[in-house]
Point group: C2
Chain length 167, copies 2
DNA sequence: CATTTTAAGTCAGGCATGTTGACATTCCAA
DNA sequence: TTGGAATGTCAACATGCCTGACTTAAAATG
């Protein structure tokens, strides 16, 4: 890979291989922190990150279909199905047959599901809030901009669609 | 959770629950993109992300010990050992008994290991470089600041130590 | 109406990753 | 010198996610 510095001086210092390397390491360590708190809660419940993600997105889009969730989470239906089955058995998620299309199942959180989702989200938000506060508003804007640029185009669309859906 | 807007107006808009929620989703989608390219390469090699991480950090700190790597990667030594064993068997990593302390093993990449590390890093850097370029230098600075604030204090130290070690 | 497509769920098998437990080797300090 | 601590290894097991093949039901198509 070429060295940004050799191209047009200090302006592109943030594109040197070493800067990119540091960026990658920052992503690695930060993601660990990002998931650490919910992971601790989930560990005691024989649930994993997959359950958290399902609860998160069902909470954000109640009534979403299995197929929809599949596209957002980017896992196979076999994988998602195992997660959903346990959540439904434990009474955290409700699956209702679609009214217009009876093949579809619409997913909702029960009060218990909402409670767990909130517990997990609160743990995660606590850390994010602290980080955002510490870094300041401009840093947060930059953070968001870089992350969005890092997504696969498909995922970027999903992300923007979710944002718009909630205003 | 409290709503930032109610505290002191638009200044803290970036701390509202909805903003934090969007930040969390951005992390989720972006991390997927971040790992997608190396994952594709690894899939054909019966290797996984753990192998990539090991190669990455051994490359960055040649001669590091197993214990050292353990602290950085945050997994159990048994888990790391399986990864290292396969990398050593495949001739990508060399393990040398420590000279001053014979209990320690010092880890180095062989030319083959360096080659694979480079291939993986190049794939990842390509995406990061594009994202950094698209977002611009100030955004990248903010990105880094938020990620650093999001790390566990321990990991933050590891991260800073690695940065200093390479200048 | 018959056929094809779509949505969802299931079973089987595989691989990467993580865990705990037991163990060998080496070092160091009481 | 002896016992504890540190380092690393091996084995067994659990989990999560994957692919592939299949069933069921319903919708779309012709």
């Amino acid at each position: 890979m070429s060295d940004g510095r050799t191209v047009q001086g200090e302006t592109l210092l943030y594109l040197t291989d070493e800067q990119l390397r540091q960026g990658a390491e920052a992503m690695f360590f930060a993601y660990r922190g990002f998931t650490a708190d919910p992971d601790r809660i989930l560990a005691g419940l024989s649930y994993g990150r997959a359950h958290h993600r399902a609860l998160h997105f069902i909470h954000g889009a109640p009534g979403t279909t299995v197929n929809n969730l599949l596209a957002i989470l980017g896992v196979t239906k076999q994988s998602l199905n195992r997660v959903l089955r346990s959540l439904i058995e434990d009474g955290l998620v409700e699956s209702r047959v679609g009214r217009v299309d009876k093949r579809e199942r619409h997913l909702f959180l029960t009060p218990g599901g909402e409670a767990l989702e909130r517990e997990l989200s609160d743990a995660q938000r606590l850390r994010m809030r602290a980080a955002f506060r510490e870094a300041g508003p401009e840093a947060v804007a930059g953070f968001r901009r870089v992350l969005e640029a890092m997504m696969d185009p498909e995922m970027r669309l999903q992300y923007q669609r979710l944002r718009e859906g909630r205003g």
